[in-house]
Symmetry: C2
Subunit: 165 residues, 2 copies
DNA sequence: GTTATTGCAAACCATTTGCAAGTGT
DNA sequence: ACACTTGCAAATGGTTTGCAATAAC
């Protein structure tokens, strides 16, 4: 096992965030710790409003203002812990970018669900196309739109995007 | 030549928009005609602000309010004439979606330029992956981020994202 | 004539920011 | 001590909307 692989297994999101902050002469505050804990307690996609809601619902007094949540998510993005994946209704959707393999998304028109997938061939094709044009690729974002399997089956009721009734 | 191919060549954006509007019992107003003309006078990507600027700079009296521009771009999107391709600095970027082959984009971090490319293999791979998961694909959006060829060469000055000096 | 559309200004709404008080190092 | 951070409330900025006047059909 290489040193780097060993490192990957031992550096927690918290360690990684602390390291990022200290190199930037920033501080690991109580608020940042709370947000980090909440964000990595669950691997689902989330938007800022949902996170604020989760935090404000805590009964252990670990609450953080909305402004600080916005500021901290930005810092966690810079630290390589999170990335924005979509913007379905005018709000950014975040997901974990640390400790999870690179992947893309299928977005269901009907229920709004995001489905992850990974394909090595696509990645290497993108790489090839970019370098052929002298473009130095750092990352990519691929979203496939359509209807997911459950929503295509008319048997039962499915989630709707707008369930207002 | 098939009937459909023949049709593709004769149905102008204007015809297509008129058709869309009439089926929706909407009206082909002078303002919508002006915007359509301006949008299809040039195949570059644009954002709403740039379009408003182009319109307000016209010396033939063909000017349209900002609100109507927003409303009409939305209608043209529904009509299948335009699509949103990116959102670089908080503003949507539009491009022609009618009469142009499917393609994707590379976005330069340095100068903000968009570069189009098309690759059949990627499209068919995406198709294959989607159907393997029972996902009925309707479209996709692929953005490749990095640095473009001109911006990688340090010889001359290049456009900067923020040129504030 | 009826119904849709325009332009204006105000409203919207996610996100950002200035500032005074508070906290990590 | 010092510099950074927080929470609040106000500002920002692209986009949307209510409404009275106007135009398409």
């Amino acid at each position: 096992m290489s040193d780097i692989a060993a490192l990957d297994k031992t550096v927690s999101p918290s360690d990684k965030f602390r390291e990022f902050l200290s190199t930037k002469r920033k501080k690991f505050t109580r608020e940042r710790e709370i947000i980090l804990e909440e964000v990595f307690s669950d691997h689902e996609h989330f938007d800022t409003d949902q996170l604020v809601l989760r935090l404000s619902g805590r009964n252990d007094g670990k609450q953080v203002s909305r402004a600080t949540v916005y500021r901290t998510l930005g810092a966690m993005e810079q630290a390589g812990l999170l990335r924005k994946v979509a913007r379905p209704n005018g709000r950014e959707v975040w997901e974990h970018d640390y400790g999870y393999p690179q992947h893309d998304h299928m977005v269901c028109d009907k229920c709004g669900e995001l489905f992850e997938f990974h394909n090595e061939e696509i990645s290497s094709l993108i790489e090839k196309i970019a370098s052929a044009q002298g473009f130095l690729k750092t990352s990519h974002r691929l979203e496939v739109y359509g209807t997911c399997d459950p929503c295509r089956r008319p048997k039962k009721r499915r989630n709707r995007k707008l369930d207002l009734i």
